[in-house]
Structure formats: structure tokens, C-alpha cells
Symmetry: C2
């Protein structure tokens, strides 16, 4: 038990969405980066190990972001008066094209990784751009920072502007080069197959990407059913398929328990059955979905039917990288959905959104996002003393932090048991 | 022209909701606290006056908050899993009752005023509690801080808990005492008649309050049509009136151009006509309206019909005091309303929400919220250099600040031409 240390404080996490698990002045025994035991009273046998006592502070799992576009970082807060397709063409594609340039990419990607650190996002599933070399740079920065990530070089070989399109064979070749280089380079930062979305990828390319995913047993991420116009477009592009979801299935891109689809707002019942069959993770991105007037995902239905769901900041269609901000708006939008559904789809509780932003998304990474035994110790230490009365219950304190705290309240961050300081790039 | 000084920087404001007025490296000539002239080139005759040069920073009107409950400040981020009535009973009333105590009130009200300062809210329309003496304390703190406000001692003499209810005659007497003491004490901080909402006030009390408003020519604030259950309750309480709005009209509480009603979500066409007739200001509080599952105000309709509207943080049903946060969620909810209305009620643009949070609410105070000639010079100086590229257009920079900036970006605050430093209490 050489690599054992003990963390003490007010421990808050969610084994299940239904309620918070709370340990006032609790002890987390961390062995080899994993939670060995969580307890209110330290056993005698552990009393000789080093302890970090955080006093009255809160200790919570690190945040997990299941969907974000790193090269859109500089567009945060811009262009948010558009719907999906004009927003892509007017703002997003021109910005992503800049990531051909290594110096520009280096500058911005360093900011992204630092900002994720700052906001307490310890694990992220990331789209880069189509550019191979700068995607490698993003891998290296995450590895250097010590944060966990799946990173996908974006593939797009049709319906894309001249300045941001690939030749199909080269797209596959570049993707495989990255996979080979990074599949075993880091335990924390791994490749993920990333067709941008159906309209951007020919059937041939999607088929090749499906084959790569199979060959290397890799996860897959893309976008699904975000916008009504997008869905109509896909119907016309793929008359051979029965639905948007079925396009991904057809080309081998729904991998059992290993696929993330962002948005999932307008799926049919049949599509929801398909998502269930493959245990597809939905990345719920309500900030983006409201900013781009996409609509509100029927999140309650997904949860009731047992589909896996996590939260996504979806920057820069979402304007906040902060997962607590995404938790807030998830609750708010779930209340609007409740009204819209004639009070059928119940609003989410605070413990439910907390679960989604920690263990819900964390499940995509394995045993991540909770402090149950054998979970990787990814944690944030929160000083909420400037947010008001700290004699409130822990449940009230965590709710208050989610609603009104910000990055200034996060005083320490751990990934796999290791204290992660601000990246020095 | 003794009291003349000149402010230089990138000036941004909205004469009309439709577009931003922009002066890159512009000059604002301030005389006796008011804008004399705004210009891109400083006239020869003004070159001898003192100038404050803010370089590449942004200069915008101070934010105006038309609706907030000061004694609910310590409840920020708490209890947001309830609808209106249970939230009032479970969280809000118990907290407000504490403001009987001068020491507690002093502690919390100092925090409120400091936080308004910090967030760049230079004018606010405020509910205190039923307590006369601590309401006076709140007046004194605003006066000391140099921020502008209307402050209303809350009246409630029915349907309220034993620990937070007034005897009707005493309620009127206390209200008049405050009016007499504060009506001429400060140019910036004034009393406003504040029946909590119809269910909390007997008809007799409302009538007396209407008479006080008339006698002293005072403005009035209350709540209107926030929640369906509330509306049904009022129907049963006031069979003599034709609508919720008509109750206020009946008791003399709709004063021409001098009344603010918070929320205005579920009004009938007839009620909207009444609001128009009396030129009632609506305080749009979308954060609160989503947190309490109240619904989405048909804001576009109010604007199209020329009704005056401003924004309200509505703390603590709203969890953010920041008006830019309220602007964000106003746009997001307007997009949800657009979808809900079958794309009939168009979403708000950035210039429209900026207008609502500055000049829209500012009109309630007179010539406030803009930099047109003769407007009071209430301003914020924004350093957005950490938000990204500052070679963008001013329109993009202000949009970005609204979406992703926070209090850390505000470097100076002015009210009526005077630089307002952090309150020292």
C-alpha cells in the first residue's frame, strides 16, 4: 500500500441519480489512484498514512464533459443569433480552418486545456478539427496537463467548404496515423473515431471509419438529431436508410456501449429503441440547444428508459465550458419541457443533474465520476465559504455551489489520485 | 461648465432595441452628471477639460435591474426545486422574517449592495421586507454606496405566515413614515409602494396603498401573472374583479407610466390592453420564471405592441444578480418561445436584450440607460482583453462580453457622472 493517501472533508457524490451520498467530515482512502474506501471514521489500520485535511470544504467528483469542440474556443459568445447550418457556415467552419496552422492551434489549444482545468472538468470527450498535426498537438497538451480525454480528429469529405474538406482516403489515413501513435501513448488520453455528422461524411468514408473503430476497438462520437432542417437534409442524403440513427448503424458507427451522440433532441421512437439496443451515450447539451434554437431533448424519457446520458458543454454553440452552468440550464430546460409536455416529463432534480455531469458522463470512461470503491479518484475541492452560510446541510451547499459558484471556488483538482496543478505551457 | 469631464473609449449603447450605437475611440462629454455630447472627434472647445482615457476598453451604460428581493439574498441557489407557492412558504418567508433583526439585516443588506456594485447594476428597483426599520437601513446603504434605487417596504396583511404578517393600519402607517423620511432625502434613492402581490394584501390595504401612491405621487411595484395556480387563487379571492390586472387597477395601483409588474407571463389579451393603457412596465425575469417552472413570458408580443419592458434578476427565485446573465437567458428563453409558438414570436437579438437591460429598464428612472444627450451618465467600463481577440467589431465584443464575461471584466462604474468605488461598509 505504498501509493495510499487519505483525503478528508465534506464528501458529496451520487451513486444513483435519485439522491446525494453525503459524508460530513468523511475520509476517502485512495490507493493507486482509486477509491479504496469511503468512511465517516478512519479505520485504525489507515491512521499511519498521509492525510490531506480539507476541513469544512466540499469534495466532489471531477466534472465530465461528453461533448466539446476545442477549435471553436475563440468563438465563445459569438454568432449566437443563428440556427445550426448558418452558424456552422458563418462562424464555425471559418474558425476551424485556422487549425491548419500549428502556431495558431498551439496558442488556442493551450487556452482550452487551461480553461478546462480551471473549470474543474477532469475528463472530456473532444472534437478537434480535420487537421492531423494540430490534433496530435491537442493530444500532447492533454497528456502534459494530466487531464483525461478522448480526442477525435474530425472527418469530413462532403458538403463542407473548400477550405475545410478532406479527400476521403487521406482522411482515413490521417485518422489511422493518429490512432497508431496515441492508442497506447497515455492511459488518460485516447483516440475516438469522429465523423463530424452524417452530412459531412460520404457513405464510403463512414464505412471506413466504422472499420477502423472495429479494427482498433475504439469508441465513436458524432452528432444526432439536433435540428429539424438537419434531419430533413439527412433523409434526402440517405434514402437507403430508415432514419438518421440508422445511417450511423448502417456504417458500423454504433458500437455497443462505446458511442456518444450529441443532442438527440428529435429522435423517433424507433430511433430511441436503436440507441437503447447499442447502449449509445447521449451527450445532453442544453446551452447549445437553446442558443441555436434547436429545441429541448426529452431527457426525462431517456433517463426513465435507462439510456446512458451525460452532459456536454458543446462549446462554442454552448457558450460556457463550466459543467455546473450546464447543470443549471439542464434543470431549467427540463422545467420548460415539463410545461411543454403538459406536465408529463418531470423536471430534473439537483442530484439528477449532478449525477449526469459526474457519474453519468464518467461511465463512458469506465469507473469514473463517483467515489464508490474502485472508482478512479477524480475530484474537486470546493471552498464555498464566500457563497453564504456554511452551516447549511451538505445537500444545500452543493446545490448552492452549482447555482451560484464559479471557478473561483475550486481550490484543488485531482485526476486518478494525482493533484493536478495549473498547466504550465 | 465647471462640472465637465470627458470619458474616452469604445462606446456602446442602444438608442433603440434594433441596433447597437457604436463609437470606436469615442468621446463622451459629461456635464453635471449628464451626457452633453457623444462624438468620434473631440471639438476644439472641449480640449481643455479633464479626460479619462480608457484606451481600448468598452464603455457601456450601467445595468438596470427592475425587480429584486434584497432580503432573499442569502437564499441564492437554494430551494430551486419548487414552484412559486411552496417555494415562498418553504424558503422565502422564513428568510425574510429574519429581517426583523437589525444586526442580521445590516449584515445581509451590506452584502446585497456590494454585490450589485460588483455586478455593475447601477440602478435597481428593490423589494425589502415588511420591516420598517431595516428597510430604512437599506435606503441608507444605497445612499451611502451612491447607487440608484427605488426601494419598497413590502406590505402583506393576509395569507401570510404568522411570523411574517402585518396589521393593516400599522402597515400603512409604517409605509407612510418611510415615505416622509426618504422622499426628499436623496436624488438617487426613492421610495416605491410595494404590495407584495394580490394574495398577500387585503382589498382595504391595497386601497390605502393606492391612496398613498396618489398622495405622494409615488411609483408602485408588484407581481403579476407568474403562475397558473396563483392566478386561479386570485380569481377566487377577487370575484369582484375581472382579472388579476384589474385587481391592481381597482385599488389604484396602476399609476400611469409609474408601475412595474414583475413576470407578466400568463396575461389575457384584455389584461395586456390594460397594461398598455396604464403604460405599465413589465420586469421580465426569465431566470426566475424557469427556476420556478412558471413559463415563458411572451416578450416579443409585449415589445411589438410597444409596452415598456426591462429585465429583473428576481433574486432569489432567480439565482444570478448579474444582468448580463439575465440577458443571456432572456435570449435563450425567447428562442424556446419561438419554437413553442410555431415560429411566430421571433427570438430576441443581442441588441434587443442589451436595450432591455439598460435603456428599457432605465426609462423607469427617467433619462437613464443610454448615452444620448441629456441622459444621466451611468456607465460601466469593461476590460474584455482576457475574453479573446479584441480586433473584432465592437458589436461582436459586446456580444461576447454579455455571453462569457463576468464581474471580473468590469473595471469602473459611474452613476450620474460620478465614479463609484466599492462600498466601504
Amino acid at each position: 500500500m505504498e501509493n495510499t493517501h487519505i483525503i478528508k472533508g465534506n464528501v458529496i457524490f451520487t451513486k444513483t441519480p435519485q439522491k446525494f451520498d453525503l459524508y460530513e467530515n468523511g475520509y476517502i482512502i485512495v490507493e493507486n489512484g482509486k477509491v479504496k474506501l469511503i468512511t465517516s471514521a478512519l479505520p485504525e489500520s489507515y491512521k499511519s498514512f498521509p492525510i490531506t485535511d480539507y476541513g469544512d470544504k466540499l469534495i466532489i467528483p471531477g466534472f465530465v464533459d461528453l461533448h466539446l469542440h476545442a477549435p471553436q474556443f475563440r468563438n465563445l459568445g459569438l454568432g449566437l443569433d443563428k440556427e445550426l447550418i448558418p452558424w456552422l457556415e458563418g462562424y464555425t467552419f471559418p474558425e476551424e480552418a485556422k487549425f491548419k496552422d500549428a502556431a495558431y492551434a498551439s496558442k488556442i489549444y493551450k487556452m482550452v486545456v487551461k480553461e478546462l482545468w480551471k473549470q474543474g472538468t477532469t475528463r472530456a470527450v473532444v472534437f478537434s478539427s480535420i487537421h492531423k498535426d494540430t490534433t496530435k498537438l491537442l493530444f500532447d497538451l492533454f497528456i502534459q496537463a494530466g487531464l483525461g480525454a478522448y480526442i477525435g480528429k474530425v472527418n469530413m469529405d462532403r458538403n463542407s467548404p473548400d477550405y475545410l474538406i478532406e479527400e476521403s482516403a487521406q482522411s482515413v489515413k490521417d485518422t489511422e496515423e493518429i490512432i497508431k501513435e496515441y492508442i497506447n501513448k497515455s492511459d488518460l488520453v485516447k483516440p475516438i473515431i469522429t465523423p463530424r455528422f452524417v452530412p459531412s461524411c460520404t457513405s464510403a468514408l463512414m464505412k471506413e471509419l466504422g472499420a477502423l473503430a472495429e479494427k482498433y476497438d475504439l469508441p465513436v462520437q458524432s452528432h444526432l438529431s439536433e435540428n429539424m432542417a438537419e434531419i430533413e437534409w439527412i433523409k434526402s442524403l440517405h434514402p437507403e436508410c430508415t432514419s438518421y440513427t440508422n445511417v450511423y448503424e448502417t456504417y458500423g458507427l454504433l458500437r455497443q456501449g462505446k458511442t456518444i451522440m450529441a443532442h438527440c433532441i428529435h429522435n423517433t421512437d424507433t430511433e430511441i429503441e436503436l440507441l437503447k439496443k447499442y447502449r449509445v451515450f447521449s451527450a445532453h447539451c442544453p446551452t447549445s440547444n437553446s442558443n441555436l434554437s434547436s429545441g429541448i431533448m426529452p431527457l426525462r424519457r431517456f433517463l426513465s428508459e435507462g439510456l446512458p446520458v451525460g452532459l456536454g458543454s458543446d462549446i462554442s454553440a454552448g457558450h460556457k465550458l463550466s459543467i455546473p452552468c450546464v447543470m443549471n440550464i439542464t434543470v431549467q430546460m427540463s422545467k420548460m419541457k415539463w410545461l411543454e409536455s403538459g406536465r408529463q416529463l418531470a423536471p430534473l432534480s439537483t442530484s439528477e443533474v449532478f449525477y449526469l455531469g459526474t457519474k453519468g458522463g464518467g461511465e463512458f470512461f469506465g469507473k469514473v465520476g463517483s467515489f464508490e470503491e474502485d472508482y478512479e479518484f477524480d475530484a474537486l475541492v470546493i471552498d464555498d465559504s464566500d457563497l453564504g452560510d456554511t452551516t447549511l446541510s451538505l445537500e444545500e451547499r452543493i446545490q448552492r455551489y452549482i447555482y451560484i459558484g464559479d471557478d473561483r471556488n475550486i481550490v484543488d483538482r485531482y485526476v486518478r489520485g494525482k493533484l493536478i496543478t495549473e498547466p504550465v505551457f
